[in-house]
């Protein structure tokens, strides 16, 4: 199979925080400050700047496919739940999850961008982690990144950081200390249990203990800040530093995303789910415009094909037709009359030899044929000399039995004075072709002069 890698652009990673967006790609990294309006959305100048910078950073050719952008969202507005579901068939799981979402979250699933990951499963129940954020938040970022030439996917930064932590059996938490806000995500049995945000200035050991039961705390954050926190909280908690490469455009979330991508680990992706009731029947024109256009083009092509065929192939068929007609003319002028002539010649040949053969085969010993006259119509006239009347009767009987003749009659039978002898005249007529049996000649007599075989001509 041919590899179309030149069409693809490498995956990029984006960490979207409250006030900073970090972009990391193979070609380099960028940090963009985020300016938000009162409702929390990005301002128009900020959006324009992001689109311009990211489009430049993406460096995508117009003929290349959009690059996949794996984005990590900070914990603002994120709802995280671990729920237990009954073990259901795979096809029924979306419906069950939908119901669970309606029960667990204050907003309807249609108003959320959400995703799930399986934590554990047995034959009876299934534990999953549900994560959700307002749909508008994800859609806003998705539109922005699409404008910049990316195909975005969203996950949680806290979950991305988890990929940096070593696998341990004990419960733990990950703390990302920002300049203004701190994010704390707790893991129980290696599964996310809760996600909390609080001001960084309130960050103390007591606050952390109040928000999580985990005794192991992984700390990440900007250069220097994380190390300082480890020192500060180390006396109260088992603090461990999440080592990440420093520099512009680097963060623990980005490092986690890269590691998960390289190691092909499953990410909890947040997606906008369509309403269950409308899932199967989305027939809006806009959604299927492209497919409908293709179908319409195909139909038009199908309708026009016969006409195009007749217009394009007519000369070819005409040439073939002329060629066949020429051949037919030649045949009709040469072969056909010859064939007819030969067939007629063959049918005109009377079966003289067959008739003589049948006569010879039917003639009894001692029969003497004085004269035979045969014409083309099949009338045969015989003059015979026999020793007694019985021979004539036998001869006649055999001729009739042969099935070759339609008419066998004895015209005259006259005794000859002197020796016991009779003269007779017979007339015969063979049956028309097709009605008389096919005469099969016996083999020629052997060269050793053996006795005359049956079917030898009568004595004349």
């Amino acid at each position: 199979m041919r590899d179309f890698t030149y069409l693809r652009t490498p995956t990029v990673f984006i960490d979207i925080g409250a006030s900073l967006m970090r972009f990391s790609a193979a070609g380099g990294a960028v940090e963009l400050p985020l300016e938000r309006s009162e409702d929390g959305k990005l301002t128009t100048p900020c959006r324009e700047q992001i689109v311009a910078v990211l489009a430049k950073a993406a460096d995508r050719k117009s003929w290349q496919l959009k690059a996949k952008a794996v984005c990590a969202l900070n914990g603002a507005g994120v709802l995280l739940r671990k729920v237990t579901l009954p073990a259901v068939a795979k096809e029924e799981l979306p419906a069950v999850l939908h119901l669970q979402m309606e029960r667990e979250f204050p907003l309807l699933p249609e108003q959320l961008a959400w995703g799930w990951n399986e934590v554990s499963s047995n034959g009876v129940k299934r534990e999953v982690v549900l994560a959700a954020v307002r749909k508008e938040t994800v859609e806003d970022y998705a539109a922005l990144l699409a404008q910049a030439g990316f195909q975005p996917e969203f996950t949680l930064a806290g979950l991305a950081r988890n990929y940096l932590c070593p696998a341990i059996k004990a419960d733990y938490a990950i703390l990302e200390a920002g300049a203004v806000q701190t994010e704390l995500i707790s893991f129980e049995n290696a599964a996310p249990a809760s996600l909390r945000l609080f001001p960084t200035k309130m960050l103390t050991g007591e606050v952390i203990r109040a928000k999580t039961a985990a005794r192991i705390l992984y700390i990440s954050g900007p250069d220097g800040a994380a190390s300082k926190l480890v020192e500060q909280l180390g006396t109260q908690l088992d603090c461990r530093l999440l080592g990440i490469p420093g520099g512009v455009g680097e963060s623990s979330a980005l490092a986690g995303l890269k590691k998960a991508t390289v190691e092909k680990k499953p990410l909890l992706l947040l997606g906008v789910q369509p309403k269950m009731t409308k899932a199967a029947w989305n027939i809006s024109l806009g959604a299927h415009r492209q497919n409908l256009t293709k179908v319409a083009i195909l139909l038009v092509v199908l309708m026009l094909f016969p006409f195009a065929e007749s217009l394009l192939l007519k000369p070819v068929v005409g040439w073939k037709l002329a060629s066949f007609k020429k051949h037919q003319l030649q045949f009709d002028s040469v072969v056909a009359p010859e064939l007819n002539f030969f067939l007629n010649l063959k049918q005109s040949q009377p079966p003289y030899l067959d008739a003589l053969y049948v006569l010879a085969k039917a003639s009894p010993p001692g029969l003497h044929i004085s004269s035979i006259t045969i014409d083309q119509l099949g009338d045969i006239s015989l003059k015979l000399e026999v020793q007694n009347a019985q021979q004539i009767m036998d001869f006649r009987g055999k001729l009739i039995d042969s099935g070759f003749f339609s008419h066998v009659s004895l015209e005259d039978q006259t005794p000859v004075p002197g020796p016991p002898k009779l003269n007779a005249r017979m007339s015969l007529r063979w049956k028309p072709a097709g009605q008389r049996p096919l005469v099969k000649m016996d083999p020629e007599p052997g060269a050793d002069g053996a006795a005359t075989p049956v079917g030898a001509p009568p004595k004349m």
Partner: protein
């Protein structure tokens, strides 16, 4: 140049509707003509394809018939191309005499007369000969295979009382007129054409 009056909305709408109507009329009128033209071309094409298909299957049977002709030419040892009207009777007569003599028979008489044109015969040849039974049977067998379109009309075989073991043969054959046959074959085609 007189500046054009500004049209009111109603007038603009009227003009627009008129233009649309004219466009629809032209599209329908032209469309019908185009469809008719395309349908006619399609029908011609389908007819040509059907005719070609029939002729193609005919060519296959023609090939078989040509093989039959070849076999019959071999069987009768006749090449129709050599059957010229002027020489065919002479050739047939000579071939008959040669066959009689080569079969050990004695040719007593031979007579040629014009054939019946209604039966597409070019000549009738009557001959008499004397010989043994085997020679006569052989001659009867070989007559149609002499390389000429000969059909045996009648045969009379009589015992010769003066020469025991010998029989007399009196036969009438006619020679078919190949040219007449071909001409009559072509006539219906010509009239049909």
């Amino acid at each position: 140049m007189i500046p054009m009056r500004t049209l009111s909305d109603r007038e603009k709408r009227t003009v627009r509707y008129g233009a649309i109507g004219v466009a629809i009329y032209l599209a329908l009128f032209g469309g019908v003509r185009i469809v008719k033209f395309l349908n006619q071309r399609r029908a011609d094409y389908v007819q040509a394809v059907t005719e070609t298909s029939l002729l193609k299957s005919g060519v296959r049977s023609d090939t078989e018939q040509a093989a039959i002709v070849q076999k019959m030419m071999d069987d009768f040892q006749i090449d129709p191309g050599t059957l010229s009207t002027n020489s065919v009777v002479a050739g047939a007569s000579a071939a008959i005499q040669k066959a009689i003599l080569s079969g050990g028979m004695v040719l007593t008489s031979i007579r040629e007369s014009p054939g019946r044109s209604s039966h597409k015969e070019i000549a009738t040849i009557q001959f008499q000969g004397t010989g043994k039974v085997a020679g006569i049977i052989s001659l009867v067998h070989r007559l149609p295979l002499l390389g000429y379109p000969i059909v045996i009309d009648s045969v009379q075989i009589t015992a010769d009382p003066l020469q025991p073991g010998m029989v007399k043969l009196m036969a009438t054959v006619f020679v078919l007129d190949y040219q007449q046959w071909i001409n009559e074959w072509k006539k219906p085609e010509a009239s049909h054409a």
